[in-house]
């Protein structure tokens, strides 16, 4: 796993144009602002839909409110793009960061949870004449979705506080949560 992480870092580091742009005076701050606007679009649209499944605004047909979801996904796309820009610029600050590992884990759970919604209760909740009260299983999915996105936000914010340092002499563990010393000619020993 540590070998895979080292490979990821060196691959991301080899993409230069994005990093060059991000290292300009306003590059990183602007990308951060966009990332937070995308975050709000995502949790606003997806969160409002989740709240409806949980029983807020029962007079709104679930199918009608589902039209907000593409905007939530737009927020997701904005954040995947801006997030990748951070990753390409400072790969070792993310690839070796435990907070980033958990952020990816919670994003994955949120994604699987959303897919579960579409293959199970989506049709039942959005059918014409569907009851205003969503089935219990849909509520479990909505609560999971809200919790996971909140967890993703928290992990994102904690990234800065869990910045990885250089690995101890014993080297990185299975999930490298420290920056391994660079090997090979011309490398800087850490």
């Amino acid at each position: 796993m540590a070998g895979f992480q080292v490979w990821l870092v060196s691959t991301f580091s080899s993409v230069h144009p994005i990093a060059t742009m991000m290292r300009t005076k306003w590059g990183w701050p602007i990308a951060e602002s966009i990332h937070f606007i995308g975050l709000s679009l995502l949790v606003g649209c997806i969160g409002v839909f989740d709240l409806r499944l949980l029983g807020v605004g029962k007079r709104i047909p679930v199918a009608a409110l589902h039209k907000l979801i593409p905007w939530g996904l737009t927020g997701y796309a904005i954040n995947a793009t801006s997030g990748l820009m951070f990753l390409l610029t400072e790969p070792d600050q993310y690839i070796y960061n435990p907070s980033f590992h958990f952020k990816l884990l919670f994003m994955t759970i949120a994604g699987v949870n959303a897919l579960t919604f579409y293959v199970t209760v989506y049709r039942r909740t959005t059918a014409p004449g569907a009851p205003a009260d969503a089935p219990r299983f849909a509520k479990v999915i909505a609560a999971t979705s809200l919790s996971m996105w909140i967890a993703v936000i928290v992990c994102g914010r904690l990234l800065t506080f869990y910045r990885p340092g250089p690995c101890p002499r014993s080297g990185p563990g299975f999930l490298a949560e420290c920056i391994p010393a660079k090997k090979g000619p011309g490398s800087i020993a850490q």
Binding site: I37, G44, V48, A64, R157, L158
Partner: protein, 177 residues
């Protein structure tokens, strides 16, 4: 660093910085100090900007069969996010009062929050209350309502941008620097 501006503000922020809570905010190694309070501030941001954004998108025509007035049901959660941010924002301010209060961007952010709140009030009174729970596909949303929705999106995006830029801009980090 340029010397602090010669007025009473710095004396006051220096006093805040010397209080136990301010020191705890800056120096506690606990994840429940600065890191979690900052996380709460971001969750609140998502709820406030996100829910107001969703209401604005509905007014602008997304989800035309959603009864416009019924979007009001999500506002209590938006207000929960707002108060979460008022409280966490004050805690963050107590941690670094000189840094925030000597930065013009901080006042721009507060001004944008105020402007956005005026728009929330106008949307509430002129749009959500007026449309009530009527199924609204048939009722055209007024141009004025759409202007308010665009203003809401612009102001909240402005608040987020100004807030984010606060992390990268300051004149004086601490009163004695």
């Amino acid at each position: 660093m340029t010397p602090p501006p010669p007025h009473g503000l710095i004396a006051w922020t220096a006093w805040i910085e010397s209080t136990a809570f301010s020191i705890w905010m800056r120096e506690s190694p606990s994840v429940f100090a600065f890191p979690i309070i900052l996380s709460f501030h971001t969750i609140g941001m998502g709820l406030v900007a996100g829910i107001n954004g969703a209401v604005a998108l509905r007014i602008l025509g997304i989800g035309p069969s959603v009864p416009v007035g019924e979007m009001k049901r999500f506002l209590p959660i938006m207000w929960f996010g707002f108060w979460l941010n008022a409280v966490s924002g004050v805690a963050l301010l107590i941690g670094y009062p000189t840094k925030a209060l000597t930065n013009p961007l901080f006042y721009l952010k507060l001004g944008l929050v105020a402007a956005a709140l005026v728009v929330v009030g106008l949307v509430n009174r002129e749009v959500l209350d007026r449309y009530g729970d009527r199924p609204s596909a048939a009722i055209p949303v007024s141009v004025r309502a759409k202007q308010l929705a665009v203003a809401a999106l612009v102001f909240w995006a402005g608040v987020i941008t100004a807030g984010r830029l606060l992390a990268y801009t300051y004149r004086h980090l601490m009163a004695d620097m």
